[in-house]
Amino acid sequence: MDNTSQKLKVFVVDDEPGICLGVGAILRDFKVNDQTSNSQVEFEIFTFNDGESMIESLEKEVPHLLLLDCKLPGIDGMEILENYLNPENEILTIMITAYATIETAIKATKLGAYDFLAKPFTPDELRYTVRKAVTHIMLRGQAKRLEEEKKRIRFEFIRVLAHELKSPINAVDGYLDLIKNRILGDEIEAYDGLVEKSVIRIDGMRKMIGDLLDLTRIESGQKKRMIENIDIIEIAKNSIELNCLSAEKSNINIELFSPDSLFMSADSGEIQIIFNNLISNAVKYNIKNGNVFIRISEDNNLVNIEVEDTGIGLTSDELSKLFNEFSRIKNEKTRNIQGSGLGLSIVKKISGLYGGDVDCSSTSGKGSIFYVTLNKTTVEGQL
């Protein structure tokens, strides 16, 4: 526990001076441990003998906690609860009642009271009730902070997403502008290169939108998972075939080392996404005449997948950012490679669904190996 402490303001309103005095004395020496911030909560007490003076004070200062007597000489407690407490201030009110009836309890609760303290109460009863209220206040504060953090992360995600979507649009827009202005003369063939480059950027954008949908589907749990007993070797072979064409362009050799079949309970779409992402990366970030080695094995209840390439590799600094959303390693070698920056974070999320994980070891300039472990029998994975 650290030494920080925070003070909560407490207003006590009661026409019996003894109550005000007593409550003040007990709470001044009272400390509550706040589990949410690992700090200590102390109290600053303000006492009032009638409702009017408290209401006047509210204009200058808003308490966290209000101990309010039901029966007061002028404006009574219920009326204050009903008319004078601004809900935006989120004041937690504990009603002090001499004749605790079910009716007053129901009415006060409807008006927003948090708890009751029946007169006469012992110091321990007071401390117990206040401790409960403090916990409530602290949890409420924590929930609010988490909500704000969530909003911030969401905004950051959308900001980066907007940027990533805009760059291909800008690129295509630029090529169209050149074509529109007949920069290269009137022969249409002269523009083939510009058109080809536009198509590549549009393809990249389409792939990114697809990845984005995959990611949000997995995260939201909206996608219906079809868990079946499937042969992942067959899926790996499928994925190799899908990547054959782009591999051939750079004369890259893809080899699979695995048993003839390996069954696990999984959603075939999810496993396909893992293989597609890892294998297409291994091809994309490879060198001409390079190799891609895929090894699949089982170890008790675990499936181990390794995808090794002989490509450009990563520095340790680049490795640390690798699995973040929209993280694309930008350097001389990757400048001309299209990517959404989402592939590996998707692989990580899916591996998590199978109680597994993804890891990478790499040597800059030599190549990388990606390791994925999956649990063979996790049926309902949790994110």
Partner: protein
């Protein structure tokens, strides 16, 4: 106006933008030299003095373009610098070099928002060379 035999340095980390500016400025008659980032551009500037520079603001570093513009003006104050940026577009952060104060610290003669239009860029270049 023809810019025959004039040299332009193009700097942008987006290969497509670089390619587009390359095609565009060549069509105006410039000889082009391309760099994909400020460090590459600095290297080129050691042995090459352009007649014009078109540079991106955000490259390897967030403000790489500002520093590069500063370096270019240090080589010669006569080299016009056009800075292109998608910053306003992305961050909502706005800036321009219309006030004297801003002109003093942003060492660019023109700031163009991305995407840069052919006619706009052509017009700005014309204006810059007329001023000469």
């Amino acid at each position: 106006m023809n810019y025959f035999n004039k040299n332009v340095l193009l700097v942008d980390d987006d290969p497509d933008v670089l390619e587009q500016q390359n095609v565009l400025l060549k069509s105006l008659g410039f000889n082009t030299v391309c760099a994909s980032g400020e460090s590459e551009a600095m290297d080129i500037l050691k042995s090459f003095k352009p007649d014009l520079a078109v540079i991106d603001l955000m490259m390897e570093e967030m403000d790489g373009g500002f520093i590069l513009a500063y370096e270019i003006k240090k080589i010669s104050n006569d080299i016009p610098v056009i800075m292109t940026t998608a910053v306003t577009n992305v961050t909502g952060m706005e800036f321009e070099n219309s006030s004297l104060e801003e002109k003093n610290w942003i060492k660019a003669d023109v700031i163009l928002p991305k995407p840069v239009r052919f006619e706009q860029l052509k017009g700005e270049i014309q204006r810059l060379f007329m001023e000469d």
